[in-house]
Symmetry: C2
Subunit: 547 residues, 2 copies
C-alpha cells in the first residue's frame, strides 16, 4: 500500500467487488440457470440441479443444527453414490471440512484418520459396516456421530449408525442460509495420503484452490456445457480430482456407480451417452479387454482423462480402437488431483501410434491455472537442463497447491522447502519442455554416484516374455554404495534363470544399471495393487533374504 | 483466524501455494507450451507466442528502464494492431497500469484523460497525430513521453513522438525479469467511460478480475484451444472484453485489423479460417448486409459474441443464414466487459426463430465466474419479483467488478451502494430468472407514478415503415409529472404526420405510454452513433423547442 499511488486510494475491497472464491458458487449458479437439467443419475434415480441444491442446503442446515460449523470435520466413507456427490457441497456449505475416506482401507487406518482429523460426524455406506464397527470401537469416546446411507444397490449389511442419511436431511431446511467461506483460504477438504510407510498425512486443501482446479479441469479438457460424466474415478480420491465441483461449473450430468465393472459401465455409457470419464490405466485396460459384446451398440466417442501412471502403449492403442480419446494428466493429492497435463500439440496428430504414445506418456506441462511445474536439482534447487537426461525432482508452485499437512508442521515445512511443493517424483525435462517422470525419489538407486531409475530397469525386465511382474530396489554395496536388486515374479509355467535374465538386461541397459541380483518369487502388493517397495527394500538390505 | 482451529494452524500462505492471480501468467504459459503456435496475424506479419512473450518483456523492460513502474499509467491510442495486443501484457509486466484511449475521441477528451490518469507514457498510432498534437499542446508541461507506432497500413500522417515503438522495444531486454503484481488487487487497467454528460469516469480494474474474466470468456463460450479470433471489437473498449488475455489462456491466434470493413473482414475470415469474433449488433449487421460476393467461398461456421444492445431479430436471422452462431452477452466497462450471458437452454433449440430471438435477446444470467446479477428495487434494495413486469436496476456483485473510479470517491461510493455495483440499467426478471433490460435509469419516464420504458416506445415507433430513427425522453407535465416525448427522424422521401404516428402507437402501447408529442427532424448522435438523449431532454424541457 503506497499512499501516494492514486490506484490505491479509496479503491479497496468491498462486498460488491470482492467475494471469496469457492466452488459452492458453481452449485448455486447451475441451480439458478439450469434448474431442471439432470445433475445425478443413479440406477433409476434422476435428480436435477434445483433438487440437488435443495438437498445440499438441507444437509448443511442439518449439520449446522447439530453444532457442526467452521473448522469441524465431517468424514465420509462412501462409494460414488449421490450422497457422496452431495457431501462435496453440503459439508462445506455449513463451514465444515470434508474428509473422504478411502473405502478400501482397514479398520486401523480408518480409526487413525477419524481420530487425527477429529471427525465429528461420519457418513458411511452400510457396505463398510464391518470395518467401521471395528474402527469405531477403537475410538471409544472419541466416536463421531455416525450417519448411515441406505442404498438398495448395496450388498446386505448390518445397521451402522445413529440415523439414516435421509433422516439427517429431513432435519435441515432447504432454505438454510448457507454462507460462502469467510476467507477463500479456509479449508474445504482433508484427504489422507495412502503412504506406503508410516502414518498417513492429512492433506488440507482450500476453497480458492478447489475453485480454480474445478475450472482447470474444464479449461484443460475444453469440457462442453452439460457433459455426461461417468464416475469411474473414486470421489474419495482427491475429491474425484475436483470433478464434483467441475460438474457444477458446467452443469454436467454425473452418472454414479458403486463399482468399476465393465458389465456395469458399458450399459451406462450406451444408455446415457456418456461423454467423459476419468481413471487410472487399469480402468481403461479393463474396458478395452472386456468382451466385445459388452461394447456393442456404442457408436459415439468418449473422452477420457488418464492418470496414476503413464498410459502404456497397449492402453492408448486399445482406447483408440474403442473410441476413447485419452488425455494424460498428472498430479497428486497435494495438488488437488491433476495439476499437469500432457497438452497435445497439433503437430503430433500425423505421427505413428507408438510415437504418439511416447509423447502422450509424459506428464507434460502445468495445468492452465496452475502456476508452474519444474524439475529441480535436489542439491542446487535450480531447474535441470531440458536435455531429457538430467534427473531432478518434480515440483509445483501455484494456487492449486494444498495449505499443508494437518497437525504436521515438520512434513509441511519439508514439502514446501525453497518455495516449491516437492512431489517426491523424479523426472527429466525433454527438449520441448515436457516433464517425464522416471521414478519416485525414494525408489532411485544411486550407484557409484550415478542415478539409476528403477522404472527403467523394471521396463527392461518386463520385456522378457517370462516376466509377469518386476520390482527393482537399491541394495547396499560396499563398493558402489548401492546396486540394483530385482524381484521378479514369473508367468505361470514360465521359466528363466538369474544369469539369463541379467544377460537379457545387458542388451538393453548401460552396464551400471543392470541388476546385480535377481530374486524370484511373488512380489508383495498392497490391496490396491501397488507394489510394496518398502518391503523389498528391507529384504534387499538384510543379506540373509537375498543371499 | 481461530487459534484453536487445527485447519488454521501452521497452514499459512507461502510462495509454493499462493501466487497472485494475473493474466500475465497465461502469456508465460502459452509461450512455454506452444512457443511456435501463431499468436498474431497482421497483414503479412505472423508472430508466434515465443516471440510475443519476448517482445512483451522487451516493452516491460524498456518502460522500467525509463522509470515506469508500480502504479504509473501508460496510455495507448491504437487501433487493433499487434502493438495494442502487446501493450496488454508489456505494460502490466513492469507494474504499470494500461490506459486504452478510445480512438474516436476529440482532443479535449484525450487531454482530460491523459491529465486525470497522470499518464507518463503515451503509445500512439500516427493516424491520430492531428488530434494528439492538439491534446498534447493542452497538457503543456504535463505532457507524457510519446512513442509513435509506425504502421505501413496506416494512412500517411505527421510524426508524433520522441521515438518509435520498435526503438522503445530495442531499449529493453527480452530477458527482463518481470514480476507478477505484488497483490492480485493491484490495478491492471484504467478505462474511461464515454459518458454522455460531464467528465468521463476512470474505471480501475485489477489483475484478479482480469484473470477471472479471461477464463470466464473461455468457459461461457466453451472456447477450444487455438481458436482463430478476429479483432472486430476494439481493444480500447474494456480491454477488448479481456480477450487479449483470453487468447493467451487458450493460445489462440489473434487476427488484427485497423478498421471494421466487410471488404477487409471477409477475406480475413476466408484466408485464416476465423473461428471466433466479437462485436456490437452494428458489426454483424454490416456483415450480413454486405454484398454476397464478399462472402463467397466461406464454408465454415464462425461463433460470434454480441453485446452493446440486444441483437435485433433481423441480425439473428441474418447471422444464422450467414453461418455465424451468435451468443448474447452483456456488461459494461465497470465489470470488465461481458459479465452476463444469455446462456442457451437446450430446450430452445427446436423453437421458431422469432421465439429464439426473443429468448436470446435477453441479458440473461451471470457469467460463470461472476458471482451474481440481480435486479433490485431502487427503494428497498431487494430483488424484484421474477414476473417479467416489475422494473428494477441491474446490479452485479462478484470478483469481476472494478476497484472503483480513479480519484472519484463520491462516484465510487454511489456505484457500490448497498454492496452491489449499480449499472444504471433498468430491467425486469423473467420467470426463468433471465434478466431483460428495459431502459437506462436516466431514460425511464415516470408518468402518473407508472414507469414507462423509453425503449418500448421507441420499438413501437420503429415498426412504422417511415421511421428511420426514434428517441423518446421525458417531458415535464403539470398533471402527470412526466409524459413521453418522441424525436423522430424519417427515412429519405418518407412522410408521416404526428397524429398518424401517435395513432399508430396506440395500436401497440398502453394509453399512458403513447407519446404525447412527436418532434420530427434529425436525431443528434455522438461520434460513435449513440443517440444523445441529454440533448433531447433539454429540448423537451424547454417548451419553446417543442411547441
Amino acid at each position: 500500500m503506497n499512499p501516494g499511488n492514486p490506484y490505491e486510494l479509496g479503491l479497496d475491497k468491498n462486498p460488491a467487488n470482492y467475494v471469496a472464491l469457492s466452488p459452492l458458487s458453481f452449485l448455486a449458479r447451475s441451480a439458478q440457470v439450469y434448474p431442471h437439467a439432470t445433475a445425478l443419475i443413479y440406477g433409476e434415480r434422476r435428480q436435477d440441479w434445483d433438487t440437488t441444491y435443495r438437498r445440499c442446503r438441507r444437509l448443511a442446515g442439518a449439520l449446522a443444527a447439530r453444532g457442526i460449523g467452521h473448522g469441524d470435520t465431517v468424514a465420509v466413507m462412501l462409494p460414488n453414490v449421490p450422497a457422496m456427490f452431495e457431501a462435496h457441497f453440503g459439508v462445506p456449505m455449513c463451514g465444515a471440512v470434508l474428509n473422504t475416506l478411502n473405502t478400501r482401507l482397514d479398520a486401523e487406518a480408518i480409526a487413525f484418520m477419524l481420530d487425527h482429523g477429529q471427525a465429528r460426524v461420519l457418513i458411511a455406506d452400510r457396505e463398510f459396516a464391518p470395518v467401521l464397527h471395528k474402527a469405531l470401537s477403537m475410538l471409544g469416546e472419541r466416536r463421531p456421530l455416525v450417519v448411515q446411507v441406505d442404498d438398495d444397490e448395496a450388498p446386505p449389511a448390518a445397521p451402522l449408525g445413529e440415523l439414516e442419511y435421509e433422516q439427517l436431511l429431513a432435519e435441515g431446511s432447504e432454505d438454510y442460509a448457507w454462507q460462502l467461506p469467510r476467507d477463500e483460504w479456509d479449508a474445504i477438504s482433508l484427504n489422507y495420503t495412502s503412504g506406503t510407510t508410516g502414518n498417513p498425512k492429512g492433506v488440507v486443501t482450500h476453497h480458492r484452490g478447489a475453485y480454480l482446479n474445478a475450472a482447470n479441469n474444464m479449461i484443460a479438457w475444453t469440457l462442453p456445457h452439460h457433459p455426461v460424466y461417468l464416475w469411474t474415478l473414486p470421489m474419495f480420491h482427491c475429491n474425484g480430482w475436483c470433478f464434483p465441483w467441475t460438474m457444477a461449473l458446467v452443469a454436467g450430468t454425473s452418472v454414479c456407480l458403486r463399482r468399476v465393472d465393465p458389465a456395469v459401465i458399458f450399459p451406462l455409457i450406451r444408455e446415457h451417452r456418456v461423454s467423459h470419464m476419468c481413471g487410472a490405466p487399469i480402468v481403461y485396460g479393463m474396458l478395452i479387454n472386456a468382451p466385445a459384446e459388452l461394447r456393442a451398440g456404442i457408436g459415439h466417442k468418449v473422452a477420457g482423462l488418464i492418470a496414476g501412471a503413464a498410459p502404456p502403449l497397449a492402453v492408448i492403442e486399445g482406447c483408440e480402437a474403442a473410441g476413447i480419446e485419452l488425455t494424460h494428466v498428472y498430479g497428486l493429492t497435494e495438488v488437488y488431483g491433476p495439476a499437469a497435463v500432457c497438452a497435445k500439440q497439433p503437430q503430433w496428430e500425423g505421427l505413428p501410434l507408438d510415437e504418439r504414445a511416447r509423447l502422450n506418456g509424459r506428464q507434460g506441462v502445468p495445468y492452465p491455472l496452475q502456476e508452474a511445474i519444474a524439475v529441480l536439482d535436489p542439491k542446487t534447487g535450480q531447474p535441470v537442463p531440458a536435455d531429457g537426461q538430467t534427473i531432478g525432482e518434480v515440483c509445483f508452485r501455484g494456487n492449486v497447491v494444498m495449505k499443508g499437512y494437518l497437525k504436521n508442521p515438520g512434513a509441511t515445512a519439508e514439502a514446501f522447502e525453497g518455495g516449491w511443493f516437492h512431489t517426491g517424483d523424479l523426472a527429466v525435462v525433454h527438449g520441448d519442455g515436457y516433464v517425464k517422470i522416471t521414478d519416485r525419489s525414494k525408489d532411485i538407486i544411486i550407484s557409484g554416484g550415478e542415478n539409476i531409475s528403477s522404472i527403467e530397469v523394471e521396463d527392461a525386465l518386463h520385456r522378457h516374455p517370462a516376466v509377469l511382474a518386476a520390482a527393482v530396489v537399491a541394495q547396499p554395496d560396499p563398493k558402489w554404495g548401492e546396486v540394483p536388486c530385482a524381484f521378479v515374479e514369473l508367468k505361470p509355467g514360465a521359466q528363466v534363470g538369474e544369469a539369463e535374465l541379467i544377460e537379457f538386461c545387458r542388451g538393453m541397459l548401460a552396464r551400471f544399471k543392470v541388476p546385480k541380483k535377481i530374486v524370484f518369487g511373488e512380489v508383495p502388493k498392497t490391496s490396491t495393487g501397488k507394489i510394496q517397495k518398502f518391503v523389498l527394500r528391507d529384504r534387499a538390505r538384510s543379506s540373509s533374504a537375498i543371499e
